[in-house]
Symmetry: D2
């Protein structure tokens, strides 16, 4: 099973590495060449363009930054024209439902199966092959690529036969993460308004009711005012909240908390916090209360 | 150390029970007499009125339903006039910051120490004496009653010397629970908008990113459309969200997510869901999307 | 028809003056004595206390600042105990629906008719006896006091036989004014975000689609950054928006725009804009966009 | 001055008609042919395609429904490739700021001047040549086409030399109209919650504080529950609110009222009200309160 892998960023590189280690032949491409070299050392073939990587592939995996990068690479990069009939494209990036729909149509017109499989998990989870994989697409294609998912993740969650379903789920999860950060931010600001150390408030909630990783990670950053370097940039979080809201709109699902959160992200970006960690949303809650 | 205990509801009864079992003399009162009888069997003295219970007490503990019940019992019930100078009143109920301020002033005028100590934990946690106790008040009073807290809880978190600080923290936590339920509700509605079973979405999030009890409890109820009998009523949750918002207002802290959530609670109550479980907030998200 | 008039502020003074000029015997009281002296010069009797003013009155008119002043004066000031059976109390101030309900009950218990009659119009309109009077209460009482309304206003709008109905309407109107100011603020901030002079934007809208006084008055202030002295203070506007929201809650009517506006007012107050003109809400919209 | 006019809908047809009557040679195109025939009777030349209409034109005017129609016609329809250097394109439709930017770049690359000139006013205003024209673009191009604006409108408001500035202003105005409708909807729902006839509430506000056409038109429709046929469709209003929000996002201007309104529009569409008049937003406020 010949694999083409496009997008070797923070997540893509360890994922491709695991496939190579599992014995799959991989032809890899990345916008900047350095991660390609690292994969070549492990036995991958490097490709000079997306289309070259895709040539003759049975399975194409893309793990690109956003809609624009995916569009540039897959549509404008002629990848779709290169894939043969019967090939399978697994898009593991976080993209909009609208793009998922567009890609599903384009692939169907060319006889290429299109599977959406965005993931949950950070770099270390990707390295350990322990991602949670959120998948949707035709059952047969999903079945064919399951061995690859087994290499990359600890569990595959299948949400339906339309790829956009997996994207909607992924955006729903990321919206919920944003809501958790936003709620911690406002809760901490409330505590601060009563001269309670926000760190004491966050210690309490992350040790008791909200003893989940996502609260501990972002709550810890808020408690320590530690927003750089960014683990996950606020601007990217804001983008996902917006994509969730737009996904809601396409399906006529009002998402009032997403709307409220989005305004907070826009305000944060207006104040120069977009490149800080997502936890920096707390600064907006403080600013609104006349602090900071 | 003579203890008066007012309010033997779901939480108050096991708390008072634990104090009796720990050997403290307890004089107890409750609006309805039946839980008093049960405590008397365990060795408590029953009282016919709040003031009778408070007579001669070193420590008064109140665990009443809300602001109105607390006001009726403590102020209108002449309890405050009964307590001797040097007594300590521990208010363990969830009340507004405004009432906490008012009570602090009234107590100070009578030479009675006033401690706020709302708790985190449900009935079974109270029974096990494993509550988390959120405390604020004068250091000496807190120190005096710490042995009681050690009987009732696993840990005492002290947030300052003004009682209202503990109330602000408690309301901040309850607001965050409301935000978690609200975010699950909208996330599940988004999934549903794409023909993904909401239960599948909630299974995913509560097994991965949000593997915390509060998500599992409410997420499970949403997944199963199981809103009756209510574990914690939606109307009470909505009240706490409102109290958090009002606490924010008093301290000039805008709480935009609380405002958004409050509207959803009002809408839920308008549609007859106030007496259902807090998880029934999900019905409002579905209704807004034209379902249900 | 003996009239007692309590509350001679900006609005109350010209209103009482008009009643005297129309030949009604008026006994007047005000917290600070100076406006009483001015009325006495016109022929009123001055009173040293609310109860003294109310003694023997056929009609009591109150025009007090807010709930607290109304409560202090009418309930704590023993006015209600002083009024004889068959007297009519016209409350022309802007108070909460909750207080309106409480007062209606208290009056009924004493055999005093209670009419709510808040007004629309600023000082100059009050001086000219051209107010719009929003009235609710028992039909017979309304009919009895109509001649007074005819002195004070250009038109009486009757909304029902429960006093709270007029308060709900008044709060609804004030909410709409807040919404208009808020919308201008955000529209102007949007224009400014594109380097369009906010004044040019506001000139356009107030000359075309929104050629109504309320837009011109507040829009003009925003365009000129002229927020002091305050025509109507932002903090008071914020209070009315909150009262509208609370009125909504009591009737299970979610008011999402009111909630959103209220957060903006809280934020404005946190930044020291509470004593500026209501138009200063625009500063919050600018601040959120990283300006000012 | 040879004019090409693309888009002869409700607004475009009377506008083109006025230009012909003023003596300008017009070559017209429309997706459906019937309005072209009507213009030909008045002396216009009909064109079978957008490009044919644009051939040799000094000034191209487009008045198309939305971004998609504008993109289809101007970019995909090869109009831009047809226009000669030195030609001027006046886009009088309501499009997004993002499209305005994209078009400005595309036109500049081809040496064609691009002017944005969306309008305020309904059909009868267009027929009377009394539109308000919101213009932005290079000063020289604006000066050249001013005689055309003088035919079409009563006044030209110039907002800057970047076309997107006029679009931002237009979207800001439409957002404000949406806010006015939304505020009336919630105010009327509040009144209704107190058994006050919404029509009585709306009579009051549109006769007093909000005596402006936009309130009277939409308020009248709400008062009479008259939502069909649609004067301006709710779905289109919702689209403009969304475009205003997106314009805000591009410039880092949070628009919290727009976000709140957008959720209401999504909800309205989910309940089948998208094709009704914009005033039908009131139905969502009622539904949220458990009515209707």
């Amino acid at each position: 099973m010949q694999i083409a892998f496009l997008g070797l960023g923070t997540m893509g590189l360890p994922m491709a590495t695991n496939l190579i280690k599992a014995g799959y032949p991989v032809r890899a491409w990345n916008r900047s060449p350095s991660p390609v070299s690292r994969l070549v050392e492990l036995g991958a073939h490097g490709a000079a363009s997306p289309a070259e990587a895709a040539q003759g592939a049975d399975v194409l995996i893309t793990m690109l930054a956003d809609d624009a990068a995916t569009r540039d690479t897959v549509i404008d990069g002629k990848v779709l024209d290169t894939l043969g009939k019967g090939a399978i494209h697994i898009n593991m990036g976080t993209v909009s439902v609208a793009l998922a729909r567009e890609l599903a149509t384009l692939h169907a017109a060319r006889g290429v199966a299109y599977v959406a499989a965005p993931v949950l998990g950070r770099v270390n989870v990707a390295e350990a092959g322990q991602l949670n994989i959120l998948a949707a697409g035709h059952a047969q294609a999903l079945s064919t690529v399951q061995p690859l998912f087994d290499v990359l993740g600890q569990k595959t969650w299948v949400f339906g036969d339309k790829p956009e379903q997996a994207n909607a789920v992924k955006l729903g999860v990321n919206f919920m993460i944003g809501a958790a950060i936003g709620a911690m931010s406002e809760g901490a600001a409330l505590a601060q308004g009563y001269d309670v150390d926000p760190a004491a408030f966050l210690d309490l909630v992350t040790a008791t009711v909200f003893a989940a990783p996502v609260y501990k990670i972002y709550g810890g950053a808020i408690a320590e005012n530690r927003f750089e370097p960014a683990g996950f940039k606020l601007a990217l979080g804001g983008k996902d909240v917006r994509l969730a809201m737009e996904a809601g709109e396409l399906a006529n699902v009002p998402m009032t908390l997403a709307s409220t959160l989005r305004d907070a992200h826009t305000e944060a970006i207006a104040h120069g916090d977009g490149q800080k960690d997502w936890a920096a949303l707390a600064l907006t809650a403080q600013r609104r209360a006349g602090r900071g």
